[in-house]
Symmetry: C2
Subunit: 375 residues, 2 copies
DNA sequence: TTTATTTATTCCAATATTGCAATATGTGAC
DNA sequence: GTCACATATTGCAATATTGGAATAAATAAA
């Protein structure tokens, strides 16, 4: 017998390919899994008899015998995706065929701490069970700050006082008896982009996350780039501008900072509750502050693109309110500043995922991590 | 039958593990290849009977039956590694057990062009055959400038006039009838670091290559980061400093530029032929120009480390002459400039590979690409 | 209509791989 | 020395996977 571990992995991969629509016939699956058609046919039969897949009719190609199209069974179960920050917790339910079937967002009180956040998370997962079809299969969590995915521990997050070394995975596994997978929230958004956004066919792109802070996530060869201290993409801690003893980029280019610069509000001004909306009304801005923000972002795009040479750079968070106009201005200015980019202008786009990106990403992560039981 | 392609890959991996010394018994190989001990034993027996491996005695662990230690047979063949730039061509021979057995370096005339470089390369490979034991197995080439590894075509290199779309792989395959593998020269150096340098056990590090230009190569998860235009790591084309309309980093931080800054020579001054030696005599410099260079490099290290969070940053090229003192100064200043680095100071080290890095890297690439014939 | 061609799937004998038990060869305790 | 234990390797029946031929089901051409 081939190792059962590998068998499970192959079955899981087959399901992922069918769910994504990338390979929906036995033959296409064989190519995608790099296995023989015979074996793949066998696998598919297993997955059909275990009610994970069904045949949903025929699809005629240009010629030859038509494919017997495979689909994932929505009723086979569902995945929970949790994402949170200091302000709110978001929970989404995604059914087995990869369709988002529910979303709950709950605002956190000002005095939230690690314990209350964890309680809110378990409460939301329990709520998701209402109206769900089939069993809960896996839970994905996107946590802010530093995260150790291997150990399933959230290490640190500045905006929640006692959020230090929280054993998220173990707590939730204990509670729900299903696999739990933990990652940094920006990094799960990268997965969301692949499953639900414009990154579907891509395996090489970057997520730009100017939110309370400023981080990025880098997808290369279909895999998230990782680092020694689980701190890749922490570019918010670059000093900016890169001369003298500047401030950290966080303080100049995060969403709140950009809103202050564009609106002319002082450092002590209270932030609008709806930052996205507030920025939208500023998206037609002109003048020095607009040009200044564009210039800063252009430099960052130039640095990133000459280093990473990625296919796409997805803008996430409140700044998406600035629209395509902003992306175009940034790209134009980047090429201006760094002539080498003329041959390869960066492809900066507004993410289409909106506010659910985090929860969807966490659910995506759960979908990618889950494996079927062996019969 | 399992696909013969996969069999070959496994045999090749087994040889790589034995050669690197990372797994030198049947059992350790089984773990490394994620195959059962039975299968692995079978593979090893095949490789022994095909004279690629031998048993070289026993090694007692803390307890239990001792390992039957495996070694690669040096006489089983050899690999050619070629690296070049506008000034010189370097060729090294590495025997089957991974030992460097010959090195030839030849200076190119000023009027060198694509054709003469290719002729020099074939001449050097032919020369390497003198005194070689066993057959030539594969050729690795590290070419400067833009390279398309998949097609085996060198796309562009500024310092050789007609070096455009040169079909290096096809030409050499035709000539020598062995597999030829082409890559950017800085990127093969990354492989050299793994095989011959300090990166042996690492799969996450960065090569800093301030030479005629300034590029870097990024190893993540044991694999070289790639990009859309084969232009990852082209940070020499960043504008520098990052304010106003600066020059490109090439012009400020390449080896010649640093020599000019430290020595006080003007832009029109003729470069010393031995840049490494010339820099060595400047390695005790102090004062503004030294601090300025250190400051610039510190900013780059800060940017890179907060983005990539790599285990190590290997300095290559003539600037290695500045010694550990330079690395320490840069690291110190980087932490100064970007306080976030205090928790995770970058590990910047001088590569121990010296001038042969390119050739060794190309040979490493050949070693990694070669697969044994199936019996 | 018939035949050739293309593509998808399935059947089956051949074989590669595994799991497990057996064997080999050492250390450490008593 | 003998026994318990630890680790490495091998033998073999059980089985997972493959390659290739056969079958299925469509289009295109004659």
């Amino acid at each position: 017998m081939r190792s059962t571990e590998e068998l499970r992995q192959n079955l899981a991969k087959a399901i992922l390919h069918v769910r994504s629509g990338h390979a929906t016939s036995r033959r296409a699956l064989a190519d995608a899994l790099r296995l023989s058609p015979s074996t793949t046919g066998d696998y598919v039969d297993q997955l059909i008899s275990s009610r994970h897949l069904v045949e949903s009719g025929l699809e005629q190609g240009r010629m030859g015998r038509p494919k017997r199209v495979l689909k994932t069974v929505p009723e086979a179960g569902w995945f929970a995706g949790i994402e949170f920050n200091a302000d709110r917790v978001q929970a989404v339910r995604v059914d087995f065929s990869g369709v988002q079937t529910q979303t709950i967002t709950r605002t956190l009180p000002d005095e939230a701490n690690a314990k209350s956040v964890m309680m809110e998370i378990t409460a939301l997962i329990t709520e998701l069970k209402n109206g769900a079809v089939g069993p809960l299969l896996a839970i994905g969590v996107g946590a802010p700050g530093l995260v150790d995915p291997d150990k399933g521990v959230a290490l640190h997050y500045s905006f929640l006082p006692d959020w230090v070394d929280v054993a998220v995975r173990d707590e939730l596994t204990q509670c729900f008896q299903v696999p739990v997978i933990l990652e940094n929230n920006l990094r799960v958004i990268a997965l969301a982009e692949r499953w639900f956004g414009g990154g579907r066919e891509l395996d090489d792109y970057v997520i730009l996350g100017p939110r309370s802070g400023f981080g990025i996530a880098v997808m290369k060869h279909g895999r998230l780039i990782d680092g020694q201290h689980h701190a890749t993409g922490e570019i918010g801690r670059w000093v900016w501008p890169l001369t003298g003893a500047g401030r950290e980029m966080h303080d100049v280019l995060s969403s709140p900072a950009v809103w202050r610069r564009l609106s002319g509000a002082g450092t002590r001004a209270r932030l609008p509750t709806d930052l996205h909306g507030a920025l939208q009304s500023l998206s037609q801005s002109e003048g020095d502050s607009w040009d200044g923000v564009v210039d800063d972002y252009a430099r960052i795009m130039g640095l990133l693109h000459l280093l990473l040479d990625s296919h796409a750079y997805f803008l996430h968070g409140p700044l998406t309110a600035l629209g395509v106009r902003f992306c175009e201005a940034v790209t134009r200015q980047a090429v201006n500043l760094m002539p080498a980019l003329k041959q390869m202008p960066p492809n900066m786009v507004i993410s289409s995922l909106g506010d659910d990106a985090g929860g969807l990403g966490a659910a995506s992560h759960a979908m990618e991590a889950w494996e079927p039981a062996i019969s």
